[in-house]
């Protein structure tokens, strides 16, 4: 009994910790007239008007589609490049492997502000400004080192004997990679993919700098630029914030196991 009370107490405190989010959730359902007065804390009647306004009259739906496309394609590109590279780093004799991995991990520490200028000029030269391509390339430059680092570790955990046995049966490198290594490393690959997706979905500096119109603006950029001409539309902003939070919520609540696995492998690998 005492145990249960204590557990409930800790959960209660963590719920209090999440109040900034729940407050925004509550705000998104508040009628316009009750937004700027406190108390009462609770709306007299909940309304979907803010969601309706955001979905029908703002650029948020387009931004959600852009974010989804950019994050999915970034994840795909970084995974394909990263899987082959990580397999080579995990299994094959490559000279200078240690400094290479050190360079890969060091590049994740490099501040984006230092590369955003030259990157902008590069994309302008390539004619990619204000396109999904610009953001996919930019986000891949952050995601690839992370993926290489994580996957090299996950692929090393696959027992080498299984691969050797397949080679004796006459399988090629590629066949072994596809039908033995990948299935066994699948949970790790999923973790790396989730982290990459989140990274791309949340990224702001590059997305803000390289986009100009609704053609490519992602959700964080649209949310930062949310229009308010005469007064700030707090209810609409709240609804837009909740919509922008949906994928992270799904990942945290539904796919927590994979997320935590990747997060810990990234931080605690020895």
């Amino acid at each position: 009994m005492k145990r249960l009370l204590r557990d409930a107490g800790v959960l209660g405190l963590l719920a209090v910790y999440a109040i900034p989010f729940f407050w925004q959730l509550l705000t998104s359902f508040k009628p316009e007239g009750e937004l700027l007065v406190l108390p009462p804390l609770l709306p007299s009647y909940p309304t979907l008007a803010h969601y309706q306004a955001v979905l029908e009259q703002s650029l948020i739906p387009r931004a959600l589609a852009n974010s989804l496309g950019v994050a999915a394609l970034t994840t795909l590109l970084a995974l394909v490049l990263g899987l082959f590279g990580a397999y080579a780093l995990a299994r094959l004799p490559i000279p200078g492997k240690a400094p290479l991995l050190l360079g890969v991990i060091a590049s994740t520490a490099f501040p984006p502000i230092a590369t955003v200028g030259p990157f902008y000029l590069l994309l302008r030269t390539l004619g990619l400004r204000d396109t999904w391509g610009a953001l996919i390339l930019a986000h891949t430059s952050f995601a690839l080192p992370l993926i290489l680092w994580l996957l090299t570790g996950f692929l090393r955990e696959v027992p080498e004997e299984l691969e050797e046995a397949a080679f004796l049966d006459g399988a090629s490198r590629f066949q072994v990679l596809r039908s033995i290594v990948l299935p066994l490393a699948a949970p790790g690959v999923a973790s790396a993919a989730l982290l990459t997706f989140l990274l791309s979905w949340n990224e702001f500096l590059f997305a803000y700098t390289f986009t100009a119109t609704e053609a490519s603006r992602t959700v964080p950029v649209a949310l930062a630029l949310f229009p308010g001409v005469f007064e700030v539309p707090w209810g609409d902003i709240a609804a837009a914030s909740i919509l922008a939070s949906l994928p992270p919520i799904v990942i945290v609540v539904g796919l927590q196991r994979y997320l935590v696995r990747g997060l810990l492998a990234g931080a605690l690998r020895e």
Binding site: D7, I94, A114, L205, W234
Partner: protein
Amino acid sequence: MTPRRRADRRTGFLLLAPALAVLVALTVYPVASVLWFSLQHRMPVFGIARFAGVAHYAFLAEDPRFSNAAWITFAFTTVSVGLELGLGLLVALALRAQRTGRRLGLSLLLLAWALPSVVTARLFEWLYHPAAGLANFLLGGHPLNWLGDPVLALPGVILADVWRTMPFVALICYARLTTIAPELYEAAQVDGAGQLAMFRRITLPLLSQVLLIGLLFRSLDALRAFDLMFVLTGGGPAGTTETLSVYAYRNLFQTLQLGFGSAVAVVAAALVMLVAWAYLRILRREGLTA
């Protein structure tokens, strides 16, 4: 070298080449460029591009806005990271003692960590709203103008950052705590050790490596902080939340001084890499090489 080994080596190069090519094009090339730009007077909109040597760097040494930004970055980093480590440790200890609802607890924590930083900025902007903000409502008394007050703006931004990133520290500490064998505590109890002694003699030493890693990851992030202050305060009021990244951004893309902005960015990057290098040396000494 056996033929198989030679073939493996070739396959390795082939598999790694695309990833390396992308990294060189998208990371090494921009880094080399920013170093080169920082030595130039360069304003692309006006077609200005001439060599300036170290003039920008010499100017930075006397630029009060730069030293302000460096100071703000330092203050933000030390206070944020200190709070995150302390709070994260406490939350991890509470979670370890938890029997039921761990998953729910982790979900509540990780939610804050996984939200886009722009969403975090919007959440706190609304909490800090002078008239309708929950913060002022809970404090009662007269309303504070959190983000518009030069004294309160930095603490306001720090609070948002701590909220967002403490869960990361809590999670890695919690993961380490779950690997500590209960026998260690039982043996200590038999020897008559109290709670505090057990914490100081067993828990803390075993957590020290994880705390060091948390310190490394979090400081590197805090040193390059940009999103929160850019969206919440725009660096103001009066530059009181202007970090090095925000100052560099202003020069690069708002006043369009690509050369000077690059110099600011290079110094900011050098500071981050210096800190990373120092931590890596400590981690290596602790036998925790990456």
